[in-house]
């Protein structure tokens, strides 16, 4: 980091202040805000804060908490898959009755119902709480006002509510883990009938009820956040900040919020139908079902209907997860390779194209659900077309760093790692997008490998890149670079070690969501591979402990930030004082004079967005 700081040729502090003073926009903010009433005590500053920067940190730390829980769950079920014969009796103190101990042998086994509960909770927690709230919630909150040049979000109050709904969603889900019947265990996609009939399995009762309550709170949180993000980007940009001057982070967060606002309500409609089926005896999703030999009254519904509603959200949701990571990586790669982002407009248009296409591909999750094969063809075509804007982005990232003066900081490494993961996982997506190949691959470990690499690991990498890069903005100190690099290499190698072998398992037809494989002759020769995966998973988890230690240690003991623009970046968040006040800028709001990517222009290493265009100089962003 020291080198990064030294290399930067950021204008001296008073230059920035002079530029803001001279060209900035005076909104008389501080005349109204002397001695802010609502930021004056501990509760209003740290707990019920309405400051977007504090809310961002709340999202991040809550997301990290959930990442640890979700990660630990995966270790337990990986132990079961890798070492089905080993005793898990030592987990009894934590898992209680979900570990049964054989009285004769003393062997502790994981209850199969609980295995399913773990897999389900792992998916739900990571997808929604960590990679949606923890990623988009953190960085949209932190960066939108700072990078568009706004004092705060359009509605700081709704923004605060957004966090607290997320918090309550977490609380309810956490509580469901301790039910005597266990949390919901029917998979993160919550397909009926397991989700629609309280008597269908142990987790389908109270566990599913709490799952629905929790996710409803969660959707409210996403919607409140999204309304704010969209409004802030469209309405509160500072003087001179037209849409073509927005950093790609903001474009990504913006489109993410639009996707969320249009797709989450559809999930809610599915939830309403589920709740009615569960409690009011309707049959939206249920038809001619027998439970325990007993025919139920429910007739006339269709479980496929739920799949349509779920995946109409579900597919945009995976882009809600990946787009913010893409935006972060674009910014981080450009700053740390000291080059303008390659093909800025192509990047914007591919974000928009991905956003649009993500709404018309959902049935690629349902090729094997009995949808009409002719209709499948339509979805095959659009699914494969999504690969085009995705490839454009990959090409542009590579071209951005190509020939750059790359500083291999932890943030930049995770950015490059993201690109690698996105390529690997995107390629397997093209396999799965062909409905004929999907007949073999559907519901196997190939799918597990695909989405963990392209979404799970890649989005985590985007998040790490963002945390290392903007940590000084959040806490005024740097994270430790050595630990960061160990974290990167360990995670990068380890993640491939976990998920690469899964492709082979999947091609051989090993199904996902099975409790154990050693009693199937066809799969028994994979036991060594499963052990290898489990060991790799444990090591990768250990790497994350390094990150967490680094994170919390750096909050208090990290190297202090001494200049306000340590990386020599161009975007507005680096024009604020080191200790960012409420309202972000102590005086006027800076005015924007150029696009965000003038690196290496006219012999200057970087030119901040607030520096006026020289006579006859052309602005790339118009």
């Amino acid at each position: 980091m020291a080198t990064a700081a030294n290399k930067s040729t950021a204008p001296a502090q008073h230059d920035v202040d002079l530029l803001i003073e001279e060209y900035g926009y005076d909104d008389h903010f501080h005349e109204h805000h002397e001695g802010d009433k609502y930021q004056s005590n501990f509760f209003t500053t740290y707990i019920f804060s309405q400051d977007h920067k504090m809310i961002a940190r709340q999202f991040l730390i809550t997301g990290m908490f959930w990442a640890v829980i979700g990660g630990l769950m995966s270790l337990v079920f990986r132990l079961q898959l890798g070492f089905p014969e080993e005793s898990l009796a030592w987990l009894k103190p934590v898992l209680g009755k979900w570990i049964t101990i054989n009285a004769d042998t003393g062997l502790g086994t994981l209850a199969p119902e609980f295995y399913y509960a773990l897999v389900t909770m792992h998916g739900t927690i990571i997808v929604f709480f960590v990679l949606t709230a923890g990623l988009s919630g953190t960085f949209s909150n932190l960066l939108i006002p700072l990078q568009v040049g706004a004092r705060d979000m359009a509605s700081p109050f709704l923004n605060m509510l957004s966090y607290w709904f997320f918090f309550m969603a977490g609380l309810v889900m956490f509580f469901s883990l301790f039910l005597s019947t266990g949390p919901f265990a029917g998979g993160w996609t919550a397909y009926p009938p397991l989700s629609a009939l309280p008597q269908a399995s142990s987790g389908s009762a109270g566990g599913m009820t709490l799952w629905l309550i929790s996710l409803t709170f969660f959707v409210v949180s996403v919607l409140l956040g999204g309304v704010n993000y969209i409004t802030t980007v469209l309405n509160l940009r500072t003087k001179g900040m037209n849409m073509w001057r927005l950093p790609l982070t903001i474009w990504a967060f913006f489109v993410t919020a639009v996707l969320g606002l249009l797709s989450f309500p559809v999930l809610v409609s599915g939830f309403f139908l589920l709740i009615f089926d569960r409690t009011l005896g309707t049959s939206f999703f249920l038809n001619e079902i027998f439970v325990g030999g007993q025919a139920l009254d429910h007739v006339g519904g269709s479980p496929i209907l739920y799949q349509h509603l779920f995946w109409f959200l579900g597919h945009p949701e995976v882009y809600i997860i990946i787009l913010p990571a893409m935006g972060i990586v674009s910014e981080v790669l450009s700053v740390h390779s000291r080059k303008p982002i390659f093909g800025y407009k192509a990047m914007v248009f591919s974000i928009l194209a991905i956003g649009f296409l993500s709404f018309i591909v959902w049935a690629h999750h349902m090729f094997m659900s009995g949808v009409n094969p002719f209709i499948s063809n339509f979805f095959v075509v659009f699914t494969l077309i999504i690969a085009v804007p995705s490839a454009v982005k990959v090409f542009n990232w590579i071209t951005t760093i190509y020939g750059g003066n790359i500083r291999f900081t932890s943030a930049a490494l995770f950015g490059v790692g993201f690109v690698s993961m996105f390529i690997s996982g995107g390629l397997t997506g093209i396999f799965l997008g062909n409905s004929a190949i999907d007949i073999q691959m559907h519901d196997t470990y190939f799918v597990v490998a695909h989405f963990h690499i392209v979404m799970g690991v890649a989005a985590f990498f985007g998040m790490f890149a963002g945390v290392y890069h903007w940590f000084p903005k959040m806490f005024g100190r740097f994270m430790n670079e050595t630990m960061g690099k160990v974290h990167f290499w360990g995670t990068m190698i380890g993640a491939y070690a976990i998920f690469w072998p899964m492709h082979y398992l999947g091609m051989a037809g090993v199904p996902r969501r099975y409790y154990r494989f050693d009693n199937f002759d066809t799969f028994s020769h994979f036991s060594a591979m499963n052990q290898f995966i489990t060991v790799a998973a444990i090591l990768v988890f250990a790497m994350q402990i390094i990150f967490i230690v680094n994170f919390f240690r750096s909050i208090w003991f990290g190297k202090k930030m001494t200049s306000r623009n340590p990386y020599g970046a161009n975007t507005l968040e680096w024009t604020t004082p080191i200790d960012v006040p409420h309202g972000n800028w102590p005086g006027k709001i800076p005015a924007v004079q150029r696009w965000a990517y003038d690196y290496g222009k006219g012999g200057e290493e970087n030119v901040s967005q607030i520096v006026p265009l020289a006579e006859g100089e052309h602005d790339q962003g118009h």
Binding site: D27, L261, F272, L309
Partner: protein, 197 residues
């Protein structure tokens, strides 16, 4: 609540053509539209797969359409009166709109009862369940509007009648939302009628 409003008034720089709160409301409406689009799409998909009970929609649905549209009209007129400082008309029409809103809810409930009377039950064939569900969720959104109208009503009678920018904005927010749920009902009823063929 107060601090929030002041915060936003200062955050809002006046360089924008539309107030952020109003814009945020439009965005929220878009999201509600998606909710009902999903319901009605689910309805179409389910209807296409057969075993679909056909029945006559309750007449009250049509009467009620008049009620909610009338309330939109009275609220709009109340808003105009507010802007022109016509205190009596403003208060009277606002109260009337509030009462019409309540009437709408009561009549929707009666309509559900009349459906049950002809044997279309919530837990029967999905064709009926969908009507109950969709009109029910719509009624919940109307209830939200009535709550907002109630707040507007207390303001109208407690605060001095003066069209300050802040109070005009608040009124406009209620007005937009109320028109929105009215037109939403119009769409839903039109959908029910057309899809029943």
């Amino acid at each position: 609540m107060n601090t929030v409003a002041t915060t936003n008034e200062t955050v809002f720089t006046g360089r924008n053509k539309i107030h952020p709160h109003k814009f945020a409301l439009y965005v929220a409406c878009a999201s509600i539209v998606m909710l009902f689009t999903a319901f009605t799409s689910a309805y179409i998909v389910r209807q296409a797969s057969g075993n679909w009970l056909e029945f006559r929609l309750p007449d009250l649905f049509f009467v009620n359409t008049g009620v909610i549209l009338l309330s939109s009209l009275t609220l709009q007129t109340s808003y105009w009166s507010f802007k022109r400082d016509k205190k009596e008309a403003y208060r009277g029409l606002l109260t009337l709109s509030f009462l019409l809103g309540l009437t709408f809810l009561v009549l929707q409930y009666k309509a559900w009862q009349s459906m049950a009377e002809i044997g279309v039950m919530l837990d029967g064939n999905p064709s009926g369940s969908f009507i109950y569900l969709i009109s029910g969720v719509h009624a919940a959104h109307v209830l939200g509007g009535i709550a907002a109208l109630f707040v507007a009503l207390t303001h109208a009678f407690i605060l001095p009648v003066k069209a300050t920018p802040r109070r005009t904005l608040r009124f406009e927010l209620v007005l937009i939302y109320w028109h929105f749920v009215g037109f939403l009902w119009l769409y839903l009823l039109g959908f029910f009628v057309v899809s029943a063929g």
